[in-house]
Symmetry: C2
């Protein structure tokens, strides 16, 4: 049995879980805070105390899924040489994005419809991806296989280069074998750039 006085954090997580279900069933455009409240047996006012708008709710769901992704990526094997590591991470990232868009199609709706609103999760996502590539580049430099003077600039360019295997606009209607080939071709381009000793 639930304790009558629960922590705000637990309520927040419970609201997010239910919002994910409601968004999955009805789509974001067809959902409202009231729908989420009703599904929880809560008053809309109670949900509003935690999330001031549907966009804030969508934003928080994205944040949570980005944090999950970042945690999974950190758990990946880091023993490989840098160029192999880049290949593994790129394919893993692509698989995670594909899985997310498959199990939660409202994520695509969020990206396409709500991209006009400034969502904190958008910036957080950019940081996560660029930070990920910055870490890979640093690892390669430390082991003398990568050369790079400006890691932040290079990480941004690398993140941009991988967009067609991460963004749903390019991802969802492309056959899997084509995606795998494309991913390998971009990995190869990025690896020969990072391995160019003249860029030292």
């Amino acid at each position: 049995m639930r304790r009558p006085r629960r922590k705000a954090e637990d309520t927040r997580a419970e609201i997010l879980d239910m919002a994910e279900r409601v968004f999955t069933e009805r789509g974001i455009a067809g959902s409202s805070i009231a729908h989420v409240a009703q599904a929880l047996g809560m008053s809309p006012a109670n949900v509003f105390k935690h999330f001031h708008s549907k966009v804030a709710l969508a934003d928080a769901i994205c944040q949570r899924s980005i944090e999950n992704m970042a945690a999974q990526l950190q758990a990946l094997n880091v023993e490989e040489p840098a160029p192999d590591r880049l290949r593994s991470v790129a394919h893993q990232l692509m698989a995670m994005h594909l899985a997310a868009f498959k199990t939660a199609p409202y994520m695509i709706e969020m990206l396409l419809i709500l991209s006009e609103t400034e969502m904190a999760s958008g910036a957080r996502y950019g940081e996560m991806i660029e930070g990920l590539f910055a870490g890979l580049i640093r690892h390669g430099i430390d082991s003398n296989v990568y050369y790079c003077r400006d890691i932040p600039a290079r990480s941004r360019a690398v993140a941009a280069a991988f967009v067609t295997i991460l963004h749903p606009v390019f991802l969802v209607r492309t056959p899997m074998d084509e995606l795998e080939t494309r991913c390998d071709e971009i990995v190869e381009l990025v690896n020969i750039a990072l391995q160019n000793p003249l860029a030292k």
Copy 2:
């Protein structure tokens, strides 16, 4: 005064010009073949003789604008060394895409809404962009500044790497200075990749 019997090609061009105007005014979703016919003072049946659907019409407009873009790009100065040429072409391409989306916002609608339909112009666009980069890479190899074993694969990866400065999803809401920096950073990544002598 118009000659009563005109060539099919002229009628086709006239329909395309008017369709561009109608699409600009009403958007693609709000336009029909009937609207275009009415604006031309033609019967819808006459328009249908040339274009069997609104999508076919949109496709033909895209084709024409891709051909114009390709012609403009071919006229660009080719006297620069390959790495500078890549930089010029990338910035020029970005400027052309920005201009197209600004003067013809229905192009964005076409890309976003009609991307589920198989349009011949989509394939033609991919060929144009990849062919452009293949030409630049070949030029660099001929002048001994670029190294590349598999030109088609490398061209595909380079085209993918530049997507965030060409596709409206990334283009239309990004400030100009940020776009210029991003373009330069991707050019730098691609140039050091193509200049890596180890990729010979």
